[in-house]
């Protein structure tokens, strides 16, 4: 390749060397079987690739070592405490990985049940989907679920499309969705993509949606209110029933963003609180691995009146006991994904729910909330909470007092990396200055949290004593403080655009 973009560290070993730069012509990492048929076919030249295919030429060992080496540059739940708020980075049990990889699941072609009588070839897989529909409905207090949405934001979009279909069927001409200013960015983005205008509702002095502002905006044009509960400040809105009454009074619907469901298992259910549409992130509450940014899964649950609009197809149980796919849904919003959802992810969440059961799920939320409050109680004297009250599964603190010493939440985060911790979510929610959002999850031990708390307290102390140390962090990682402006200005997102 002749490219020497990599730099050398003291041992002389290149850091950040790309797989393309390890390529040596003639090396092979894989051999296809020799053709067992006579003669080779060819296509007319006009349809053939003339261009070179500049893939790397490496051995299997080169390849394995390269990607294993890359993996070691990551912090992960397996290797580090990862209290990234709003993401529920809990431990991902390995037995569920094993379950999802069983050949009966992993080698199953998705078109099989679409053959005539084809459901009989996928009874086990369809049962997983059927059972999950029931489990999630019971956990959230909804009447039915679609498991198709492939991520949380995909669930949101599906949910908003269901809301649109509901209003269309009723002849309602509603164009507005109300969203609190503390919401995830996906909420307004999903609503807009589905064709709605959004109005942002401010947060009151208790850290929840300002009900007076909500009332002022509650017109006949309002199709829905999208809420995260507990909200992104980690707070439960004790007046949620009043909000639901208000929304329902204009025939609007209540949308529940389930990003924070891990706080509420067995304590309350969105369906009982008046929510009409719910999405759940299986990769958060139900402990499927986040994979560095997916695959996730974002099943959507609805109340009875919205069932006719659910995406095609739905898994049903026939009278003869067989599971089947129902494609006959004239009012459905249609296909929202190619198949039945991220099935491999769904199997893992299913295994997790079966293992924990009713009691284990309730313990999950109890300890997630206990751990978050413990961290809050041990940190709030050095970093004040955005709203000083009992939190749910996560807490939001502010580092704004440190600004006078020119120390930012970012500097504290980088210091934590050097102490061996993944930082919390920072600068979110947007309404809190220098926000730091901590979500320890139920899985972390008190000792680990204590170590983290001490590290963060040390960072705050350093901000007074020697802030320059914080500015030099992280110093233990292969790289430190990337120039993000340059990345966007001199865009290089493809090795072959810049180096050939």
């Amino acid at each position: 390749m002749g490219n020497h973009c990599g730099t050398f560290n003291v041992t002389g070993k290149k850091t950040g060397e790309l797989i393309f730069e390890k390529s040596v012509p003639g090396r092979r990492g894989f051999r296809c079987p020799a053709p067992d048929i006579d003669g080779e076919s060819a296509l007319p030249e006009k349809y053939c690739r003339e261009a070179p295919l500049p893939f790397p030429e490496v051995t299997e060992l080169d390849c394995l070592r390269h990607f294993t080496g890359l993996s070691q540059k990551n912090f992960s739940v397996d290797t580090h405490f990862y209290p990234l708020g709003s993401c529920t980075m809990k431990y991902n049990p390995r037995f569920s990985e094993h379950g999802a990889k069983l050949p009966g699941f992993s080698e199953l072609h998705p078109l099989l049940p679409q053959l005539r009588q084809g459901e009989q070839y996928a009874q086990g897989a369809l049962q997983v989907l059927f059972d999950m529909d029931r489990f999630l409905s019971e956990i959230t207090g909804m009447d039915a679920f679609t498991l198709q949405p492939l991520a949380g934001a995909h669930g949101e979009l599906t949910g908003v499309m269901l809301i649109a279909a509901y209003h269309k069927a009723k002849g309602n001409n509603k164009k507005i969705i109300l969203i609190p200013d503390s919401a995830h960015g996906t909420n307004p983005a999903s609503a807009t993509i589905a064709g709605f205008a959004t109005v942002s509702i401010p947060t009151d002095d208790k850290g929840v949606m300002d009900r007076e502002a909500l009332k002022r905006n509650m017109t006949q044009d309002v199709a829905a209110v999208m809420l995260t509960c507990p909200n992104t400040l980690g707070l439960f809105n004790a007046g949620i029933d009043k909000i639901a009454d208000l929304v329902h009074s204009v025939d609007g619907l209540m949308y529940y963003d389930g990003a924070n469901l891990n706080a509420l298992l067995g304590r309350c259910r969105p369906g009982d609180l008046g929510f009409d549409v719910v999405h759940v992130n299986l990769h958060k509450t139900f402990s499927t691995p986040h994979g560095g940014g997916g695959p996730g899964a974002g099943p959507v649950g609805v109340k009875k009146t919205l069932i006719p609009f659910l995406p095609i197809s739905r898994v049903v149980r026939r009278e003869d006991g067989l599971f089947a796919l129902d494609y006959n849904a004239p009012e459905s919003i249609g296909y929202i994904a190619s198949f039945y959802g991220n099935f491999g992810v769904i199997v893992k969440a299913y295994a997790y729910i079966l293992l924990l059961g009713r009691q284990g799920l309730m313990e999950t939320s109890n300890h997630a909330v206990l751990n978050a409050n413990y961290m809050l109680s041990r940190l709030k004297d050095v970093l004040p909470p955005a709203f000083d009250r009992t939190c749910m599964h996560e807490c939001v603190l502010t580092a704004k007092a440190l600004l006078s010493r020119d120390v930012h939440a970012l500097d504290l985060a980088k210091y934590l990396i050097d102490r061996g911790f993944h930082p919390p979510t920072i600068y979110f929610p947007l309404i809190v200055k220098e926000a730091m959002m901590f979500e320890p999850t139920e899985c972390e031990s008190k000792e680990e949290m204590d170590r983290f708390i001490q590290a963060l307290r040390d960072a705050v102390a350093l901000s007074a004593d020697d802030p320059q140390i914080l500015k030099q962090c992280p110093s233990t990682m292969p790289v430190s403080r990337p120039d993000e402006g340059r990345a966007a200005r001199d865009l290089n997102a493809n090795f072959f655009q810049t180096c050939i």
């Binding site: 730099t7 850091t15 950040g16 790309l18 894989f30 296809c32 048929i37 296509l43 006009k46 893939f55 790397p56 890359l70 993996s71 990551n74 379950g99 699941f105 072609h109 998705p110 053959l115 005539r116 070839y121 991520a151 934001a153 499309m161 995830h184 996906t186 307004p188 983005a189 004790a238 029933d241 509420l264 067995g266 304590r267 309350c268 009982d272 609180l273 990769h283 691995p289 994979g291 560095g292 940014g293 997916g294 190619s338 039945y340 959802g341 009713r358 009691q359 206990l370 751990n371 109680s377 031990s445 008190k446 992280p474 292969p478 790289v479 990337p482 990345a487 966007a488 090795f495 072959f496």
Partner: protein
Amino acid sequence: MNPYIANTADDMRAMFQAIGVSSVDDLFADIKEEYRPRSFDLPDGRSEQEVVSHLDRLAGKNAYGLKLFIGGGYYDHYIPAAVTAVMSRGEFLTAYTPYQPECSQGTLQALYEFQSLICALTRMEIANASLYDGGTALYEAMMMAVRTTGRKRVVLDGGVSPIYRKIIRSYTKNLDMALVEAPVAHGQAHRPDIKALLNDSTAAVILQNPNFFGAVDDFSDIAAMARACGALTIASVYPVSLGLLKTPGDMGVDIVTGEGQSLGLPLHFGGPYLGFMATSKQYMRKMPGRIVGQTVDREGRRCFVNTLQAREQHIRREKATSNICTNEALCAIQAAVFMSLLGPEGMKELARLNLSKAEFARKVLEQIPGVDVKRSAPTFNEFTVCLPKDAQDVVEAMIPKGFVAGFPLERYYPGMERYMIVAVTEKRTKQDILQYAQALREVLGT
């Protein structure tokens, strides 16, 4: 206590004291009595061993291990063991979106390499770090073309997967957009129809190569026609075929998408899969999804970060190019390992093997009386067959013989009751193909 919780009774006492409460219930005081669940009727927890044996039983109720001659956009390719081994690394598996680049360089660099590999494969200038699947990626491409051109009319070729076309229709139902379809019957894209449908209010023409019937095409002429109208050309492609087929970049396609399942991902009953998207630099600011870019750190060392984030929902909220957040990062890395392992020769060999085996199967099936193998276009590893009987009946009758014989087209193309598409990957041996033909003869009674 459930096995994923560490707190002991002593821990809890100490924590209650620090917080200033006397029980966990005190922490839930905001949740009023009337908010308590009306029911929470779930099964009792079970041991890992019991759950695994339950999953084993369910997995055993699925018909796997059949010889798959069914494709339809999702193919039974061999997955090298090294791919699975790398993907089992907890450091990839249990990390999240690389918001903190210093402790996420592994994911970031691997995604940069994935983007580069997709660009090399498609001959495009820039790719994103993944979308959900091939179908939703095509929808995102269409919306990107609408944003780019400011036009709202889209021409959809009938050779595009019917599943993808249904997805596009669902998402645009409530939007002010016009979708028009150019019909296809088991051949290539029909030029006169597409030409008649293109006009100066068209945002994009959407094509697929090879198309759903297996026909291989060269869209250079269509791309030129579209460009003359100010419309973009979007093509959904089958990545394995690009070891052999003319690339979308060389055809003048503006946005390329595809289903990445064939790049080392299991069939897994429909997911997780991998949507990919690539385009030219002039359109990159309209592209959805995460993009990883190379930069330097403060000591001048090469490193990687999420970039062009001003397009994304966490910055732009309602003005974002897409709502996508969590995508399919792990699947993208898996595909990157697959492509790196195969290398240029492996990818070419794999594509040639698929072509040759499918061609062999075509010839074998042609010899069966009454079986009409369509030859109206060159094909890659999937082709259309017209049977003397109802294709659904035939496919059903072939299953007890150990074969999924193909995908009957009638399901998505009413009137094509006797047609099916047959896929042949490198996993089908000569013997499989000959036994398949024999079984088909028996089923057809010829």
